[in-house]
Structure formats: structure tokens, C-alpha cells
Symmetry: D2
Subunit: 424 residues, 4 copies
């Protein structure tokens, strides 16, 4: 296993689209490189996809939405890959059932890499010959952001696969560890005044359709915690009977505690009486200063109730984040794990580390319109029964996060790098 140095790569978007294409595509393979062939195929639960599937699906996206419509006479790599690697686009046709992605030993990993190379050749040619075609540009940029989303999912999913294995294998043994001064014991509270604000995306750069349109929103006075909730603070909640007292929980969350036997965040386990947690670098002792991670919305909400606070709305979060540089402990830092806060005089950890659960349901903004055709299925059709998360995480690729970015997951999801920031 070669030492990967993600952070040494120039990960900001370069000038030419074809170069950026190459850079993003390469990163997916770089991220997969530490895996054994056997790791590529596992689907540890229906929500998780095998690494192999991620690598092929993002490739299918380019083949389906770019090469087939814009390259005359293009021959698909394999006639059944459309069936196997369509994720959820009803307009494209039938597809392999999602919960059965882990049952496919073929195509092999080697064939998937050949598929990628085949599509990359054709894409490079397309991007060279039709560099100015606006639809080609727009869709390629969408495809690259799409692949970046799957890069985050790839790491999130492989963590689940490895953590489920009784051998607890590390994704990489050689991940850097953070050496630092301890986190300030108490958060501070940053005050934002009542006002008519605007949130949502507007501009020439790329954003997903669910971030638009920009629109006014009236907010009352609110305070936002300067940093994320730490493992140490969450442990206090646990020791105060957090998982034993229904009064802190939404009814559906309390049902999950009971039926799923939740008694700590995902990936925490007691080893010889001490809390340890599984990371992409293997099993580690619990660091009380790190942000708590891998909690569901239910746990985030219960923690906030116990603490006498609440979660922020997505509008509040965005207002706070608007003026902050979207930098932090993201994928290119190479830690692949959330880090302790370092500064509490201003909003810290807004970008990177962990996705922050908001108390906002994932719904269309006023005036939202999905694109027509299959690409319109990208975001809009998931707008129910999910909550919005903001800010990216330690496995979010470079250039893929911004203040208006809306991530979303069901209230019971725990395998994402998701954590808690309080408001009141």
C-alpha cells in the first residue's frame, strides 16, 4: 500500500475544464487505491454502495448524460452497464435493485477501471473538440460535482464496511494524527440580530439546483455556538442517562433507541472498559476534544434538548457562514477525521470536520424548479422526510463546499460524518 499524499495534490479547480476533469477523476482512483480487491464489492447495508459501484456509477453518469447525447456514434462500453449503474433515474430506464449492489462479483474491479479509462478517453476527446458547447460544459461540471459527492460517499461507505468487520481493518494505517493544544473548555455564543436576510445561491459559479433561488427570510435574534459539540460533552449527556430517558427524545427517535439498541454514537465501542472509536485509520481511543461524529438527527436533537438549547435552522447557519471562508478540515487536509476546535472567538469548524444537523426539513426553496428530463431527478424528488445538514466534513473534497450548500439525510442516518452545533 503506497503512502497517499492527498494534500500535496493541487485540488483547487484549475483553468481548463479538461484538466479539472482529469484531476477529479484521478482523485476517485487515488482514494480507492488503499483498498484490497475484496473491499471494493461490499454493501454493508442498503444505504451503502460498494466502492466498485461508486467508481462505475459516476462513470455511467458521464457516459449517459454527455457521451451518448453529444458524441455521434458513441458505443457504450457494455450494454448492461446502464442497467447496473443507474442509481435512481427513472427517466433513463430500469435498473438493478439498490439493496443488491453487493451481490455482484462482476464486472470485476479491473473491468471497472477499464470502463473508467474508456469513458475518460471519450470525455477528453469531447471536452477538447466541443470545448465551447454550453450544455457539454454545464453537464460536465455537474458530473464532476456529482463525482465529488461520491468521493465523500465512497469514504463514508468504506468506513462502514471496515467497521462492521470483526477484524476492524484500517482503511489506511498511516493517516496523520492531530497534535495540538486542548480545545477550549467552553464554547462562546455568537449573536446575530433580528433582520430580513437573504439565503440561497445566486451567481455564475456552479451550485446545485436545490440551493436556488436566493430568497428573503426573516430571522429573529439568535445565538450560535462558536464551535461543535465535543465527544467530552456528548459523553456527559450519555452519563446523565441520555439514552435512557425518553424526555429528551422525539417519539420516533426514542423508538430507534429502543429497537436499535442505540447507546452511543455509531462506531463507538467499549474495549476493556474504555471507549474507543473506529476511524478510517483504525481503532483509536476516544479524544474528548474532538467533535462528536456519526450521530443521527435524533441524537443531535436529544442532545440539544438535554443541553437546554436547540439546533440551528439552515437559514441561521447560512447567515453565519456567509462571511466565513469555506476552508477547514476538509478532505485535502488528509486527516479523514474531525479535529478539535482551535479558536472560539469566532465561528470555528463551520466548514469541514462534520456535517452539522439543522432543524430544517429538506424542502424546496420558494420558486424552486427542477431541471427538465432525467437530470431534474438529481435533487428535487428527495424533498421529503429528510433534514438539512450544512458545512461539509473531513471527507468532503476540495472546492465542493460553500455556504449555500444543502446536504440532506433521513433523521435516523448515522453513518455520515454528521455532528452537532447548538443554537438558542
Amino acid at each position: 500500500m503506497t503512502r497517499l499524499n492527498i494534500s500535496s495534490q493541487p485540488l483547487t479547480r484549475p483553468l481548463s475544464l479538461v484538466d479539472w476533469y482529469g484531476q477529479v477523476r484521478q482523485l476517485s482512483e487515488t482514494l480507492s487505491a488503499p483498498l484490497a480487491i475484496e473491499d471494493y464489492g461490499i454493501q454493508s447495508m442498503p444505504d451503502v454502495s460498494p466502492t466498485k459501484w461508486h467508481l462505475a456509477h459516476v462513470t455511467w453518469f458521464f457516459e449517459t448524460f454527455l457521451l451518448l447525447p453529444y458524441v455521434e456514434g458513441y458505443t457504450v462500453f457494455h450494454p448492461q452497464f446502464g442497467y447496473l449503474f443507474n442509481s435512481y433515474y427513472e427517466a433513463i430506464g430500469q435498473r438493478h435493485p439498490r439493496p443488491e449492489r453487493g451481490l455482484l462479483s462482476r464486472p470485476t474491479v479491473e473491468e471497472v477501471y477499464r470502463y473508467r479509462a474508456y469513458v475518460d478517453d471519450a470525455m477528453r476527446s469531447l471536452l477538447t473538440t466541443q470545448a465551447d458547447h454550453p450544455d457539454v460544459q454545464e453537464r460536465t461540471i455537474l458530473g464532476l460535482h456529482h463525482e465529488q459527492q461520491h468521493q465523500e460517499l465512497l469514504l463514508t461507505d468504506i468506513k462502514h464496511v471496515l467497521a462492521l468487520n470483526p477484524l476492524r481493518p484500517a482503511y489506511r494505517e498511516d493517516l496523520p494524527r492531530f497534535e495540538s493544544a486542548p480545545t477550549p473548555r467552553k464554547e462562546t455564543w455568537l449573536d446575530y440580530p433580528e433582520n430580513l436576510y437573504s439565503i440561497g445561491f445566486e451567481g455564475a459559479d456552479f451550485a446545485f439546483d436545490n440551493e436556488s433561488p436566493k430568497h428573503p427570510v426573516y430571522l429573529q435574534d439568535f445565538w450560535l455556538a462558536s464551535r461543535l459539540v465535543t465527544n467530552g460533552e456528548y459523553l456527559e449527556f450519555m452519563e446523565a442517562g441520555g439514552y435512557a430517558k425518553p424526555e429528551y427524545w422525539l417519539a420516533e427517535g426514542w423508538g430507534m433507541v429502543q429497537t436499535q439498541g442505540w447507546n452511543a454514537p455509531l462506531y463507538w465501542e467499549t474495549v476493556d472498559g474504555d471507549w474507543q472509536l473506529m476511524t478510517l485509520g483504525g481503532m483509536r481511543s476516544l479524544n474528548l476534544d474532538e467533535p462528536v461524529c456519526h450521530v443521527s438527527y435524533f441524537e443531535a436533537e436529544a442532545y440539544a434538548t438535554w443541553a437546554g438549547k436547540r439546533l440551528p435552522t439552515e437559514a441561521e447557519w447560512e447567515v453565519a457562514a456567509e462571511s466565513v471562508n469555506p476552508a477547514g478540515n476538509l478532505l485535502e487536509q488528509g486527516y479523514l477525521h474531525p479535529l478539535p476546535a482551535t479558536d472560539i472567538s469566532r465561528p470555528d469548524q463551520l466548514f469541514g470536520d462534520v456535517w452539522e444537523w439543522t432543524q430544517s426539513a429538506y424542502l424546496p426553496y420558494p420558486g424552486y424548479k427542477a431541471a427538465s428530463g432525467a437530470i431534474g431527478e438529481y435533487n428535487g424528488k428527495f424533498m421529503c422526510n429528510q433534514m438539512v445538514l450544512r458545512g461539509g466534513s473531513c471527507v468532503t473534497p476540495p472546492g465542493h463546499i460553500r455556504a449555500t450548500y444543502r446536504n440532506f439525510f433521513p433523521t435516523s442516518a448515522r453513518w455520515q460524518f454528521s455532528g452537532i452545533r447548538l443554537a438558542h
Copy 2:
């Protein structure tokens, strides 16, 4: 079976609390009177409760929250009724599993009526002797609104029970039918200007805690349909392939269509080639002018997408309803079925007929605080994964609806009297 004349009863709230108590309590029994003993015990799906359970549970509410704390030396009617008839109050203790409510033949219906009489005697005495105790007043009023909610559920649930029976028995054969001029063919669109509005409850009258606090909300220009979507319009959607084309549906809704085999609203069935629907008055031919009823949020949202419109937000709905008298085809009309619109020059059918799905998730208003103790479990702990409905229905008891009232159900629920009003 005696002819019931619900509408002849003086159903507005009278001056004295003890009289109002008697009136509300009597209505529950009047509504149950047409049933056979056998009908009282059926739980046709986990969401439905047996009539007998409703009658006992609302009684348990008074026993638990009024008689036990405020009547010295009060002896409960039966030591195990607390276990059997607690719905979801964790703070009160263990309870009988919800999906097993239909497995209990005992207590018998006659015992439940004796339980009601026992508690009514004690309540009347309490309301007489401690008429001025503010907590007694407040909790009694809450208990009566609670019982009114269960009156609606009682009718909604018994409809499900009877509709499931292959014999399709009517709740009452003698329900009045509406004789009227046909509904105007087209709705009109009522325009509301962009503004900073206020929504939510404030005042001295009763409202549930989830309606508060009153707070500002900024709305952009919107148009609201003057009337509800009719059966005839919904049939056009069906005939246009509404249940066959995924492009109209949220992903989760499309999943329901496929796994549940939805192809029409609940209670519609084809009899000898014609659409009929089950009502509380038995099977009837489809009336194209009546509002469509018993659709899920998914169906409401899919219909709106097909129609090129959208559902209103709850704030939009409330702004429109604020200035409208909360009257309409409610329970006291005695139809127990939605009626055609009669007027499209101003908002019609806002109150009564069917609950109107909004595109707003059921979440706490800014500054919402649940009450402390068990009563605080009334509303707040259900604030996730549900959508808000507004306006009451043809089985909502008199005096129980207002512009700020927030009803809520999961996106797949169809057995409520729920329908569609469009916005854009």
C-alpha cells in the same frame, strides 16, 4: 339504531365549563351510538384505534391529569386501565403496545361506558367544587379539546374499519346527501402580495402549544386556488397516467405507488366498470364535483406537479385563512363527507370538507417551548417526518378549528379526510 341528529345539538361552547364538559363528553357517545358492539373493538391497521379504545383513552386523560392530581383520595376505576389506555405518555409509565389494541375483548363496551360514567361523576364534582382552580380549568379545557380530536379520529378510524370489511357496511344508512347546483368548472386564483406577515397563535382563548408563538414570516407573492381540487380533476390526473409516470412523484412516493399498488385515492374502487367510493354512509357513486379526499401527501404533491402548480406552505394558508370565518362543512353539518364548492369568488372550503396538505414540514415555531412534565409530550415529540395539514374536515367537531390550527400526518397517510388545494 336511533336516528342521530348531530346538527340539532347546541355545539358551540356554552358559558360554564361543567356544561361544556357534559356536551363534549356526550357527543363522543352520540357518535358511537350507531355502532354494533362488534364494531367497537376492531383495529384495522396499527394507525387505527378501536372505538372502544378512543372512548376509554380520553376518559383516562381526565382521570390521570385531573382526578388523580386534584381530587384527594380519588380511587381509579380499574388499576390496569392506566396501562391499557395510556397512548404515548412515557412520563406516566408502561403501556399496552399500540398495534395490539385490537386484540383486547375486555374490558367490554359496557365496562368502558361504566368507566366513562364513573369519571364523569368525579369530573363534574371536581368542576363544581374547584371551579376557579386555574390548573383544573386549563387542563379540563385541554382534555376537552383532546377528546374532540379523538372524536374526529373515531369517525376516521371506524370508516377504515367498515371499508375494509368485504360487506362494506355503512356507519349510518341515513346520512343526508347534498343536493346542489354543480361546482363551478374552474377555480379562480386569489392573489396575496409579498409582505412580512405574522402567523401563529396569540391570545386568551385555547390553542395547542404547537400553534405558538406568533412570529413574523416573510412571504413572496403567491396565488391560492379559490377551491379544493375535485374528484373530476383528480380523475383527469389518473387518466393522464398519474399513477404510472414516475416524473410526477417524489422518490419515496413513487416507491409507495409500486410497493402498495396505489392506483386511486383510498376508498375508491371500480364496481362494474364505474368508480365508486366508500363513505360513512356506505358505497356511493363518484361525484365529480366533490373535493378529492383520502389522498396522501405524496399524491397531493404528485397531482400538483402534474398540474404545473404546487401545494401552499402553511404560512400562506394561514395568511389566507386569517380573515375567513372558521365555518364550513364541519361535523355539525352532519354530512360526514366533503361537499362540492359553491363559490369561487373568494376562498371557499378553507374550513371543513377536507384537511389540506401543505408543503410545510411539521416543525417547532421559532421560540416554541413544550410544557413540562407528561403534558409536554402532547405535541412536541412528534415534530419530525410529518407534514402540516390545515383547515379541518367534515368530521371535525364544532369549535375545534381555527386559522392557526396545525394538524400533522406522515407523508404516506391516506385514511384521514385529507385533500388538495393548489397554490403557485
Copy 3:
């Protein structure tokens, strides 16, 4: 509730078929008489049928197999009862799903009794006018034995319904209790020599088709316990870790112990530290001398393994029972509960008390032929994945048991009156 005196009724088969018809039909109603209307409709698990369903189904049997084919111009009582009360006869047509029998409040109990009276009138007329028609005779006799089977099921099922209720209501408070000398502490072992025996039914009297043909079977020497395993002996097994040690169990049985949480026979519960059990007469203290009852095949087999013995085969049991009078603690004794053994010098408790699990799978005898048509579905199509039980129980109607009688249930069934006799 009137005192029922089942045992005072002349329960042996009288001379005329029409009189016997009346006697059997009456017994079903006598057995139902102690129930509240509410008790008639409950289906406490899919295997259980509501009392009302039993009463209607056995009536449907006469209507379908006697009145419709043999009474010209016969009009069915209700056109949909064929759909509602067909149990499993595919040749007769569609039927209401078995697990939903408890969801039907209609027909009411009163209507079901009218259905019975209507069919009884027609049957009496048929049996009078066509008394000599051989098919009418044969099918009526089958129908009466069929109703007797459902009489046993009716009591077995209502016990389950009442036991599930947290109020633990008794079927009858006034059941007689057995006053006796204690059971002899140790069973004796009765020896049967190796030989070529014959088992199975042959003769002019009634027997079910699955008891035929009579055929030779070679048995090696075997010993049969003189009496049933007692509660006291079973408690020793429990105290020796019977439900905690996988070595006593079939793999599938051990799976049931784990997933179902079995730790005692069905209907046993600890009340204030003592074992009690639910009976048709209500909750009673555990009597160590009574035969253990309501155990599955898995528990019977595990007990035998722990005791260093085995269960008998059905051939061994039948050889032992052949020369014994088919009398004992059957329904007409009126105890409705198994009784202690009184004699261990010869085989005791072979008939009545509890059905005895054998180690024989329920399979066709050599040369078995099912009848043609719908009646052929009576027995043959259930010949897989069930085990044979022998000897009848304390709720088996008079005249309904014989040495060749083969009862059968799946290995996990516990709600039958089933117990254990050892062999080696």
C-alpha cells in the same frame, strides 16, 4: 353467565343422524355461551380464529358440501359468506385472507347465529327427506367430525385470546377443580416386544382419510412411559438450565428459544416469585402433578434429550393405545384442563389430558389417497413440515378420539393442549 353442565349432556352418538347433528351443533353454541360479544371476534395471532369465525365456518361447510349440491333450489344465506368463511378450499374459490379474520366486525354475532339457524333448518330437512342418500350421510358425518375439530380449536383459541389480555379474564370462573391423591412420583416403563405390527384405520366406522390404509410396520423393542411428563418434572428441566443450554435442542428449536425468548411453557408466568399458569378457569398456581401442557415439539424433544429418553413414534404410540379404551379426561369431563395421573401400573392418560407429540413427521401412509374434489383438500395437502400428535386432550369432544387418530401441528406450535410422553 349461566352454569354450563357439559358433562350432563348425552354426548355419545345416538341412533339417528339428525339427532346427532342436533347434538353436535348445539354443543358448539353451548361452548360459546360463556363469552361476551366482544370475545367472539378476536384473532390473537394468525393461527387463531375468532369464535365467530369458527361458528360460521363449520356452518359454511354444511351449506357448501351438503345443501348446495343436494338441495334443489337452495338459496345461500348470504352471497358473500362463501368468501368470508371458506378456510382453505382452493377448489371452492377465492377466500378472505386468514390473518385478517379478526378485522371483521360484521357479520355480527347475532347474524352468525341466524346463519346457523338457517342452515340447521335446511339440514334437518335434508336429513329427514334424504336420510338414506349415502353421500348425504357420509358428508354429514364428515361435517360433524369437522365441527368437533373446531369445537376443540374454539376452546384452544379463546384460551389464547383471554391469556393475551392483561386482565387475564377466565373463560368460566366456575370450572370444577380436581381433588385427588398426589400423582405417583415415578412413572413405570411398559415394554412392547419387537414385531411386525399393523397400524392405521380399517373398518366401517368413521375415520379421517389420513388414518388409512391400515398397513404393516416393523417395530423393534420399545418402552413407553406409563404416564405423561408432569409440571414438576418439566420444572426440573428448567432449573437444570433447559432453556439456556443449546445441547438439548434441535438447531431450529434453539433458534426459537433465542428469537422468541421462550423460557417456560406457554401460559406460565411468574407472579410475585411463584409460577402461575393461565387456564380456561383463569390464573392458577402451578400444580406440580399435572401433566405439562402447551409445549412445542421443540420443547418436548429437548426435554426428552435432557432426560436421556426420546419421544415415541406414532406407530409405537398406536400399538400401545390399540387395546386401551379411548376414554379419559376429555371435554365431557368438564375440567378443560389436564389432570394428574392416577395409575402407573398400565398406560395412563393415553386418551385425553394433552395431545402427545410423537417423533413422527406427518406424512401419507403407504397407499394413501386423498378424496377427489374440494373435500380431498381436507387433510392431504398439509402433509409436510408438521409432526403427528396422538391421543386427544381435555378439550377434545366426546366420540372424537380413537387409537388411529392423527393430529398434526408445526414444530413451533404451543397454543394447543400439547404435552410429552417419553419412550426409550
Copy 4:
């Protein structure tokens, strides 16, 4: 992929145990050689185990039952492999849940092969140094027969894995095809006279404990078909409405037809209007002369009912097979697929081709005793709710079949190489 020539290997048991050990162990790896790394890890349904698991589990058997007890100071290869590769031995301790065997990417295939080599070294040393230890001999022989069983399962399971893949990859493209004269159109019927026979194993050679003791069994006259039921004959059953008419089916089987949508044997599919079937050599056209394969007990029984015949009992089958040489189309033939019959003057295809469903439940023989300790869990604890199959199949390893051999599977199992021979 190297051409494998299984049949050229000397597969009969040689003189020395250590050599036989090497031969059997080598065959498992030879059978795995055609697979891609990705194929080794898939569990396509809970009944199927990944190839990797089979290879490790049989190795664990030697480590656990031979090396740990008989080699002083033996160090296990990996401390957690006992947890991962114990199949069902409760006495050995906790184990990884069976349905999750396919979720483990680690140990890798390469590590499993190193595990095998490590154990093989230690076993060879043990077999050399303690060649005369009777327990070592006995357990090694058991371990080798155990590995042979898993060789059959390995091929059976990988067929299921590959058949489930929409790409329908072949296990080996180069399997030989049978070139032959057509099967004789009609079977003949071989007559066996009524008699007191003996069945079961007795002797010095190896047999599993479930084949003993030898015991008398009385059989009436019976006829056995000279050959297996062919695809052509089964197709006639299908065309006569075999899967549409409940009258041919056991009730539980008809339930499977309805809920599972069975309409042909497993692995049959219509391609462009013609029946094809998936084989270890890939997709092939249906050969009408080949024995039907991959049918459940329910289908075998339904076919027999339709044909007016029945399945043989295991005693009948054994009586017929006793005098026949246990040779036929077994694994060493290399076809890995059943072949047409060639001779109908005497019992043909009794050994090899397909396992033959009998109408005998899998139960202990009279006097059966399981071994004590963990090894006693090998067979006895599965003796319920399964049916016996006889005769081996085209993937049964050489030397692993005999007339007394009892295979067993649940009535709904179809993925085994199982077929039909009629009796009457």
C-alpha cells in the same frame, strides 16, 4: 484461466491418510481456481456461503477438532478466525451471524489461502507423527468428508452467485458438453417385492452418524422409475398448468408458488421466447432429455401428483440402490451438469446427476445416537422440517456417495442440484 482437468486426477481414496488429506485439500483449491477474486466473497442469499468462507471453514474444522486438541502448543493462525469460521457448533462458542458472511472483505482471499497452507503444514505433521492415533484418524476422515460436502456446496453456491448476476458469467467457459444418442422416450418401471428389508449403514468404512444404525423396515410392493424425470416431461407439466393449479400442490408449496412467483425450475429463463437455463458453463438452451434439476420438494411432489405417481421413500430408494455400483455422472466426470439417461432396462442415474427428493422426512433412525460434544452437533440437531435426498449429483466429489448416504434440505430449497425420480 487455466483449463482444469478434474477427471484426470486420481480421486479415489489412496492408501495413506496423509496423501488422501492432500488430495482432498487440493481439490477444494482446484475447484476455486476459475474464480475471480471478486467471486470469492459473495453471499447471494442467506443459505449460500461465499467461496472464501467455505475454504476457511473447512480449514477451521481441522484446526479446531484436530490441531488444538492433539498438537501440544499449537498456535492458531488468527485469534478471531474461530469466531468468523465456526458454522453452527454451539459448544465451540460464539460465531459470526450466518446471513452476514458476505459482508466481510477481510480476511482477503490471499490470507485464506495462507490460512489453509498453515493448517495443512500442521496437519501433515500431525498425520505423520501420530498416524496411529485412532481419534486423529477418525476425526481426520470426518474432516475430509466434511470438506467434500463443502466442495459440493462451493459449486452449488457459486452457481447461485453467478446466476444472480445480470451478466450471467460462466464458472468455466470450457466445460465439456455431452454428445449422445437421445434419451429413451419412456421410463420403465422396476418392480420390488413386499418384504422385510434392512436399511442403514453398518461396517468399518466411513459413514455419517445419521446413516446408522442398520435396522429392519417393512416395505410393501413398489415400483421405481428406471430413470429420472426429464426436462421435457417437466415442461409438459408446466404446459398443463402445473404452476397455475393448486390441486397438484401441498398447501405450503402452493403458498410458495404464489408468494415467490415460481413458474419454472430455478435457473430457467425465457430468452427471446425460448427456455434457456443457467449452468456452471453459462447460459444454455434447454435440453429436453436431461433430468430436470433445481426443483424444490414442493415441485417434485406436485409433479408426481400431476403424473399420478408419487416420490419414493428413502427406504425404497436404498433398497433399489443397494446392489448398484455407486458410480455415475459425479464431479470427476467434469460435466458439472446432469446428463440424459442412457439405459432404461435397469435403474439408471441412481448415483450422480441430481439428488433425488424422497417423501421421507429427515428423522433419526431407530436407535440413533449423536456423538458427544461439539462433533455431535454435526447432523442430529437438524432432524426436523427437512426431507431426505438420495444418490449424489454431478457436483458430488468422488468417493463421497453410497447407497446409505442421507442428504437433507428444507422443502422449499431449489438451489441444490435436486431432481425427481417417480415411484408408485
